[in-house]
């Protein structure tokens, strides 16, 4: 056997060899996954109308000339859709997070067959493709509930809450499992009635999970373009995501790149605020990996 093939064999057999191939795959994957997005962000600063050929730097698609009305800031319908996006996200967050938190506490503590069925339904709403939920809500609003809620902002919020409610449930339940029942039982041993032990002991312990899920719901709602698109009949209730989706199917100018960059920044801001709040509250307890709730889902 030649020395070359021997050294290859030795390299192959060496249990401590560096996994060069896997390393290259990982770096390749990360570049593939993130660089395109950075390029799209860069093209929102393009001086020309193209989003594929660089023609110099300018802020024209962000804050450009008001009279041309082509920038994110000065194009009225783009601005209106940004406002609508934020409004939908805030409303969805304010409804879905309390409902989901209460639900998580309820099914965690209530014994019997009820919680199993309720939790199954909740998980189902989480794993079904969004188009199924979107279409069924759309049909419900145009047929059964036609005279109660018509398509528009209210329908959008009702639909978004239905889709998002499982986030706080999953995150808060994970937290409930990790804190256990000891604190609450100690409170009751000291004479606290049920309401007080929930409000003064359990709820403060759940704050990190509540903040985390609020950030998740806000970020995910800003990005949603399936459910909201079906549940909106007029241009006035189109959030920025739907505007981008419709524009992307034609020949979009870089102001659309500016719009998606704006969505990205809004999402990252929400996540950072939630994360900082989470870290501050859980400062005292650093046992587990910090911020596991922020992965977004657990398997």
């Amino acid at each position: 056997m030649s020395t070359a093939s021997l050294s290859v064999r030795r390299w192959w057999k060496d249990p401590w060899r560096k996994p060069r191939f896997l390393q290259a795959l990982t770096w390749g994957y990360l570049a593939w996954s993130l660089v395109p997005v950075l390029i799209a962000v860069a093209f929102s600063f393009n001086a020309g109308r193209s989003r594929s050929a660089w023609q110099g730097f300018s802020l024209r698609w962000w804050v450009g000339d008001p009279t041309a009305a082509e920038s994110l800031l000065y194009r009225p319908e783009l601005r209106a859709s940004v406002v609508h996006s934020v409004w939908l996200a805030v409303a969805t967050m304010l409804i879905a997070v309390p409902l989901g938190t209460l639900f998580a506490i309820g099914i965690d503590r209530w014994h019997g067959r009820g919680p199993g069925i309720a939790n199954f339904t909740m998980l189902l709403s989480f794993v079904l493709p969004e188009i199924i939920l979107g279409v069924s809500l759309f049909l419900a609003f145009i047929y059964l509930l036609r005279d109660v809620v018509s398509l528009g902002s209210t329908a959008q919020i009702l639909g978004l809450v239905t889709y998002q409610i499982s986030y706080p449930v999953i995150v808060v339940r994970a937290r409930l499992l990790s804190i256990g029942k000891d604190y609450e039982e100690a409170a009751m041993d000291l004479g606290a009635p049920p309401t007080q032990s929930v409000r003064r002991v359990l709820l403060p312990l759940l704050y990190p999970a509540i903040f985390a899920s609020a950030a998740l719901v806000f970020a995910d709602t800003i990005d949603d373009f399936v459910t909201v698109r079906y549940l909106c009949a007029a241009a006035s209730c189109e959030p920025i995501s739907v505007k981008v989706y419709d524009a992307a199917r034609a020949a979009p100018p870089p102001s659309v790149n500016a719009a998606v960059t704006f969505m990205l920044v809004a999402t990252l801001l929400a996540i950072s605020v939630g994360f900082v709040a989470y870290r501050r509250i859980t400062k005292a307890e650093r046992a587990g990996p910090a911020g596991r709730e922020f992965i977004g889902f657990q398997v």
Partner: protein, 303 residues
């Protein structure tokens, strides 16, 4: 523990904990279960005097005319929906498999070899979750334009003499788009699992004389079967309902099942058709879905 449970059930009234779950349960009944019933009622409904669709809410009056009409578009002589179904049944497994091959390698590397840089790798792996799907696919639209970066690089490397029409309904573009969109959902659960594998098992394998490859094939891979299946289901389920990836990166030549549903919803009076298609999709998904829900339940019980 047992004692504790009894104490709390004595102190709390029977209705106390159920009342916490009540508001969200009522919400789910009215906005999740009732809408499903409306899907059935619309799919099995009739038309009124003016030819507009009319849902029927009493099951004993249901008519399967629309449903059979739609079903006939998948087989028979005039099967113009069939190509979309076949594409879905090819694209989704192909994309899921690619997700698994790439995702397993990345997850394995980060779990086993990242060393002190693990935190950095994890942040980078999680970051696609915070970039909207829309933006990620939109970014590729720019790169794949006739004068986009991909064609420029190919021309510079003298691989392609004329620009390739990546966005003109190429199956490979749509499959890679699906992989790109859903692979983060595969990597994180796989990572979570591979990171938990007991190092002692691997060292035992090595002590018994197995090389790195053999240890992987005989120890790591069999252990991760459950995680692989769960990851495949997590990425495949949403892909089956995906219409936007093809909408933004493909054309009617690469339309998938989700596009049939989306087109039906967008067309006036298309409610019953959309309802029938949604029912068919659910039938298609029921087996992987139940498998996934069962395995998560088992994982929760084990935890």
């Amino acid at each position: 523990m047992r004692e504790g449970a009894r104490i709390s059930s004595v102190l709390y009234p029977r209705w106390y904990w159920p009342s916490f779950a009540a508001p969200a349960s009522v919400w789910l009944v009215f906005l999740f279960i009732v809408p499903f019933y409306v899907v059935l009622s619309a799919a099995f409904g009739t038309i009124d005097l003016f030819g507009n669709p009319l849902p029927v809410y009493q099951p004993w009056y249901w008519s399967t005319a629309t449903f059979q009409d739609i079903l006939g578009r998948f087989y028979g002589t005039d099967a113009f929906y069939r190509p979309a179904l076949i594409r879905t049944l090819v694209f989704v497994p192909a994309a899921s498999l690619l997700c698994l091959i790439i995702g397993y390698g990345v997850a394995y590397y980060v779990a086993r070899h990242a060393g002190r840089r693990k935190g950095l790798y994890l942040v980078l792996l999680i970051s696609p979750f915070w970039i909207s799907y829309l933006m990620r696919i939109y970014s590729w639209q720019g790169l794949l334009q006739p004068d986009g970066l991909v064609n420029r690089i190919l021309a510079w490397m003298h691989v392609a003499s004329s620009p390739v029409g990546w966005l003109q309904g190429k199956p490979s573009t749509v499959i890679l788009g699906l992989v790109y969109g859903y692979i983060p959902y595969m990597i994180l659960p796989l990572y979570g699992f591979l990171d938990r594998i007991d190092q002692n098992l691997l060292e035992a394998g090595r002590d018994l004389g197995a090389g790195p490859m053999k240890t992987f094939v005989r120890v790591t891979l069999p252990l991760s079967r459950q995680a692989i299946l769960a990851g495949m289901v997590i990425v495949a389920l949403p892909m089956f309902g995906d219409y936007f990836t093809n909408d933004l990166l493909g054309s009617t030549k690469t339309a998938m099942f989700g596009n049939l549903i989306d087109n039906a919803v967008q067309s006036p009076g298309g409610g019953p058709q959309a309802g029938s298609l949604v029912l068919m999709l659910m039938v298609l998904l029921v087996v992987p879905l139940l498998y996934y829900l069962r395995s998560t339940k088992r994982a929760q019980e084990a935890a």
